[in-house]
């Protein structure tokens, strides 16, 4: 880790410590602390869980159980680009499953996962409200509509370079 990221990390942990101090002696501190940690770090890595485990005296296994139980928590950081594939009725009817499968194949990740290079996170989403353009995907704030699986390679390529 470079000096800069180490320092950033330290800042994040001291932020987390403030939240822990605030909840430590209250009933049920785990959920609020995890929520704060998720916001601060963007994910709940083993290091973060170990830290919370030590501070709250709760075994890592119990924390991990909670983290994997609720979908609001993630174990790995989200990618630089978040790809949302609309699974609303209109998109679904127009073949969004095939689009999702194609992206999945292209990036070698399943829905909910992040690619090895940390660039993309793939999610199947609810209706994005652009049914006229179905099937659509969103990559961060960009919308792509009227897609067929053949278009995917080209689109992904734009973000890779």
């Amino acid at each position: 880790m470079s000096a800069v990221t180490l320092k950033q990390n330290e800042e994040k942990f001291s932020k987390l410590q403030l939240v822990i101090d605030q909840w430590k002696d209250k009933e049920g501190p785990l959920m609020p602390v995890l929520q704060a940690a998720q916001d601060i770090f963007g994910c709940l890595s083993l290091d973060v869980q170990k830290y919370i485990s030590k501070e709250l005296d709760i075994p890592v296994s119990e924390i991990y159980g909670v983290v994997t139980f609720y979908s609001q928590f993630t174990l790995k950081p989200k990618g630089k680009y978040k790809i949302g594939v609309c699974m609303g009725t209109a998109c679904y009817v127009k073949g969004s499953q095939a689009i999702l499968d194609e992206i999945s194949k292209e990036l070698n990740i399943k829905s909910g996962e992040t690619s090895e290079d940390g660039l993309f996170t793939l999610d199947a989403t609810r209706c994005l409200g652009a049914c006229g353009l179905a099937p659509i995907i969103m990559i961060n704030d960009d919308v792509y509509g009227r897609l067929s699986p053949g278009d995917i390679k080209e689109i992904i390529k734009k973000y890779k370079d």
Binding site: K50, P59, V60, S61, E62, Y64, G65, T68, L75
Partner: protein, 579 residues
Amino acid sequence: MEMIKVRIDGVEVEVPAGTTALEAAKLANIDIPTLCYLKDINEIGACRMCLVEVEGARSLQASCVFPVGDGMNIKTNTPKVRAARKISLELILSNHDRKCLTCVRSQNCELQDLSQKLGVDDIRFEGERYDKPIDSFSPSIERDPNKCILCRRCIAVCNNVQGIGVIGATERGFETMVEPVFNMSINDVPCINCGQCIVACPVGALREKDDTEKVWDALNNPDLHVVVQTAPAVRVALGEEFGMEMGTRVTGKMVSALRRLGFDRVFDTDFAADLTIMEEGTELLNRINNGGTLPMITSCSPGWIKYSEHYYPEFLDNLSTCKSPHEMMGAVVKSYYAEKNGWDPANVYVVSIMPCTAKKFEAQRPELSVNGHPDVDVVLTTRECAKMIKEAGIDFLALPDGDFDPALGDSTGAGVIFGATGGVMEAALRTVYEVVTGEPMENIEVHAVRGIDGVKEAEIELGDMTIRAAIAHGTANAKALLEQIKSGEKEYHFIEIMGCPGGCVTGGGQPIVKAKTYMEKDPKVVRAKAIYDEDRDLPIRKSHENPSIKKLYEEYLGEPNSSKAHDLLHTHYVERSVY
């Protein structure tokens, strides 16, 4: 205590307030099926096998967590109850990997029992099955997620009884699993290999790493001298694997069985326990007299050792440097004994029969070796030993009593009591007292250090010196004790810690006791009684009076803690990370 009256299936019983319907039914001789329930350890009402009908209540109640009230009328055998239980069971079975024929727990499985008892003759639902890899990376613990029924008994033991918590429930719904975090192997998390999760598991999802094949191979190799040794706790439990009453002593039959299996020598780890006392007692007195690190803590329990390496590295200097007894035995066999018999140590193969799964890991530690040969080649649990005896077609119950082989098979009552919590302490006191005072100890049974309280304390007068001693068993108790020492609240000279609750008699490699049996008796107490009976019946009960120990020092080691003794019988520890 307030007593209340309840009717269960028409039978009236009087019970203390707060008694659960399950316990009350037991008093009325009514057996309610259970699966997730483990007395005092896991009482969470998760599996719904123990449902009963309570008059006036709207829904069926899980009797293991339902406290009865005065005047209640409970029915355990109505059509509604039977149907509900059966559905719960069939749902569990629907996605269970039902390969009983090849399962270690067949005939000793609570799920299989229930299926029989409840008359499940067909599984109407065929659930989605997962096919997850078996985790067999640990030298001690093997985990088969496909057999797990999510009862959480292992989680409760690891978390609450041992204070460790390296397995937990993850994900949700169909994806729910009981496993270590981040898909890690149990070998890569700070597990101490105590095996308490194995003896808590009702099915074959957790088991020891099976090493019996290695031993069969060694026995079949004509070039090897295959030596076996048995820990004290094995002889008071092995009989259970052959249907004998808990607490039956089978020392003689065990020795005969091992000889029939073809071992060249059958030695007693109790001999090495006596040797441990000589070394550890001397070490203690040296530390006290020369300002060494105190309190000194015993090092016989590899579960405890790994626990301290992970969780209390600041106490590593407090640990006695003595190897555990079976490792000492291995070292003596591959040096002294091999030399005396003209054996090449490279061709000597030492097998330890232990009540313990942590010793499988311990035996692989590179530092536990003598001239490049591992002290101990293979560790088998009491259960694996029984398995070999059965495979060989030996009729255990019909065996005559045999005797251990001379020299390294000679032992004392002090060696035997190592098997119960407090035993190492008591054995040490029997010797240290006489070394310090030069007088025979009048009452050698030190009752203050016996029994199953989690932490025990005693003060012992040795001439003009008073030794403050403490004993803890089960790592959660050890943790509590160590915290008191850290905070300065308590001060001791000598501490005995055993990783497993009850000590070795209830180690993770011992015969598995069913949840229902725990409702009637506590194996910690019953097996310990057998240990103390064995001690009482032995002619010599003090380690320093063992003639073969004296001879070993005269002929080979010189004095306790001599440099030769240090080379062979002492070790060191390493700090390990937590995850």
